[in-house]
Amino acid sequence: MVVSLNLPIDHVSSWWGGVQMGPPDPILGVTEAFKRDTNPKKMNLGVGAYRDDHGKPFVLSCVRKAEELITAKHMDKEYLPIGGLGDFSKCCAQLALGADSEVLKSSRNITVQTISGTGSLRIGANFLARFHGGPRDVYLPKPSWGNHTPIFRDAGMQLKAYRYYDPSTCGFDFKGALDDISKIPEQSVIMLHACAHNPTGVDPKPEQWKEISDLVKKRNLLVFFDMAYQGFASGDIDRDAWAVRYFIEQGHNILLSQSFAKNMGLYGERVGGFTVVCNDTEEAKRVESQLKILIRPIYSNPPMNGARIAATILNTPDLRSLWLEEVHFMANRIIKMREQLVAGLKKEGSSHNWQHVIDQIGMFCFTGLKPEQVERLTKEFSVYMTKDGRISMAGVTSANVGYLAHGIHAVTK
């Protein structure tokens, strides 16, 4: 929250005398604190970045192979179009919507390459702020990824929430969600996490998605899907995209943000896509033209490297198969760690019900720990996580899962 200090501007001192120190980012700030800790047993369960079973960053083989192929081609470094690499946008949309999608066949989508998921959400938010005739309100699930709120706010939208997570069950508050959604004013924007909800790991079941779709249609809401974990949730890319595809089939003309940070391990290359499903090609062209007008004064055109890698993987059959295997592998390791954590807690003698750790899906687990317990876990055991009790399962390994179980038990018994 910005507070006006009404300081007199003293020219002899600095222009920035009135600039307040910004608080550290709640998520990325965790890693910085972790780095400063000297405890050899420390664990970083903050950022959602996949780690292998040795706790090391994992560069996918399909990525390395794609890089070799690309290097051998000796391509130039000319500017990409504002909307990015055409090959990438095409296969990005195909991945999400399915190759046989009617939307793709009738070319009624516009998909642009973006700066990973954040860049995609921001473009979408800016587009809504400029062109959405409905209310300024974007409804987020409670809770949602911490960065959703400032992204939409900086774009000029306002944030509201609908019930989502039920702390008493550590599961989905389906009744609460439907109740709240039924009251959202028409034409408002509703944000849905396509799969592997961040931070809770709690996803609606297919039958629940169907009811949500019906209700959202009845309320005439504009749907904005955030899909940052396609493939990473269940290990199956089509299964993880089911909700997105179902909504489209049901007639919702959605907005969609995609990230390839996690499912291809391309975090720092910033690979993402933003899609608007329109009524027809003509509308898609108009929307595309305006997206370019929005993008140009932010960064002109997107970076090539990551998009080229992603497109090469998706468009080269054996690299694509290899990728699907590796995504499946990563998702499975997470699932195994969930099972081992629960087993470990049982072994420690915990009397709590930890079933939600196994039921939740994707990279994150909403442990149910309260802020004071989180603080103790960090201070006493050097286990770093966000204050809301969220842990990144990707940071758990067979070597440290026992230590984690021990720590969690200690602060919750």
Partner: protein, 457 residues
């Protein structure tokens, strides 16, 4: 009924539309003098040899991964970028009052700087603070500041069409009359699109007024090394202002001088009064970055960082940069010589006096239209040409085309109720977004327009 039913079709960004039209043109002698990207004498894009070398090193380094960079960027890249701009011996860097933000190209650096200024510069809401951009300027400057929330973007006198040079008197007058604390976007060297830079004496005069009147200095430095072939020479103005004690921003691009256009490598250098002010400033810039792109792309920054931080690679890079700058200088000399040999009406000294990638030929819109339609030589409506598009193979054709355009389409061209071309293009781009009324009321803010003629000199 679609929520986007009313979304109007926006006109394409002019410079990219030009390239698109060029691509569709089947004429065998077509030439693209539009987009600002370097070309070899074979009219090919050029991946710098040092870049190829460093990229191989990166791909072969099994120890490197694709993890997130910090929000403000790759640390080695950040320190190297500031050093390149301010010089190895920079006192400001030694004092710990220089920092910055890795950004997506020069555009990204400008945007982060603009967003920060709007939020924090002179009080917490600067939407009404005037932002001055040169007339003409890179057309995206307007959009960057407008989309960052600034409502009052004004031109400052810069290009004198009659004398085909800097309108110093007009510029200094604008500085004297600007409201205190106004933001001024200055081109560090190789002004885009005119190629006309202030002399050192003129920079000193600009600096004196800006200091006295508390105007904010925001440098756009997209061509360091590319202008004269010498990194230090091209950074003279920036370093002078820093030595004069200004707190300032520098939006740096490595697109051109590293040929890394599509990797989006840029940096916003921040020079503050002291390290304490710097750290608070950077902490707020972090928040802006976090909601824009979270953290920057790593590939381009790694390439630049490895190059700048290794003495041998740095030397090789400087020589690659000089190769590019020298070819441009050669083409300038030759174009001027050929136009003079043809007896093309007018004086053509400006071709060699101007510096950097671009030349403001002085061709008027009708002549430009002729060049494109009849000669298939593509250039911006402003008369701006990219010198890199000239080669030993096409320079005769281009010179002849200019000659024909001038002799066949020469007339006194007055822009009455039309708009300044570069500002106008930006406003035209915005028409799709805002109502035509905005276009009309902006027209009244613009200076009386250029009279371009090759028959009076």
């Amino acid at each position: 009924m679609s929520v986007f039913g009313d979304v109007p079709l926006a006109p394409p960004v002019a410079v990219f539309k030009l390239s698109a039209d060029f691509r569709e043109d089947g004429h065998p002698q077509k030439v693209n003098l539009g987009v600002g990207a370097y070309r070899t004498d074979d009219c090919q894009p050029w991946v710098l040899p040092v870049v190829k070398k460093v990229e191989r090193l990166i791909v072969e380094d099994a120890g490197l991964n694709h993890e997130y960079l910090p929000i403000l960027g790759l640390p080695e890249f950040r320190s190297a970028s500031s050093k390149v701009a301010l010089g190895d011996g920079s006192a400001a860097i030694k004092d710990g009052r220089v920092g910055g933000v890795q950004a997506l190209g020069g555009t990204g650096a400008l945007r982060i700087g603009a967003e920060f200024l709007r939020r924090w510069y002179n009080g917490v809401n600067n939407t009404a603070t005037p932002v001055y951009v040169s007339a003409p300027t890179w057309e995206n400057h307007n959009s960057v500041f407008a989309d960052a929330g600034f409502k009052d973007i004004r031109p400052y006198h810069y290009w004198d069409a009659a004398k085909r040079g800097l309108d110093l008197a007009g510029l200094l007058d604008d500085l004297e009359k600007a409201p205190e604390h106004s933001v001024f976007v200055l081109h560090a060297c190789a002004h885009n699109p005119t190629g006309t830079d202030p002399t050192r004496e003129e920079w000193k005069q600009i600096s004196e007024i800006m200091k006295r009147r508390s105007l904010f200095v925001f440098f756009d430095s997209a061509y360091q090394g590319f202008a004269s072939g010498d990194l230090d020479k091209d950074a003279w103005a920036i370093r002078y202002f820093v030595s004069e004690g200004f707190e300032l921003f520098i939006a740096q691009s490595f697109s051109k001088n590293f040929g890394l256009y599509n990797e989006r490598v840029g940096y916003l250098t921040v020079v503050a009064r002291d390290s304490e002010n710097l750290s608070r400033t950077l902490s707020q810039m972090e928040k802006i970055v976090r909601t824009t792109w979270s953290n920057p792309p790593s590939q381009g920054a790694r390439i630049v960082s490895k190059t700048l931080n290794c003495p041998e690679l740095f030397a090789e890079w400087k020589s690659n940069v000089k190769t590019m700058a020298d070819r441009v200088l050669l083409m300038r000399d030759q174009l001027k010589a050929k136009l003079q040999a043809l007896g093309t009406p007018g004086t053509w000294d400006h071709i060699t006096q101007q510096i950097g990638m671009f030349s403001f030929t002085g061709l008027n819109p009708k002549q430009v239209e002729y060049m494109i339609a009849e000669k298939h030589v593509y250039l911006m409506a402003s008369g701006r040409i990219n010198m890199c598009g000239l080669t030993t193979s096409n320079i005769d054709y281009i010179a002849q085309s200019i000659h024909d355009a001038v002799t066949k389409k020469s007339h006194f061209f007055r822009v009455e109720n039309k708009l300044n071309r570069s500002l106008g293009r930006c406003l035209i781009n915005m028409v799709g977004v805002f109502s035509p009324d905005v276009l009309c009321c902006c027209a009244t803010l613009l200076p009386q327009k250029e009279k371009t003629s090759f028959t009076d000199h």
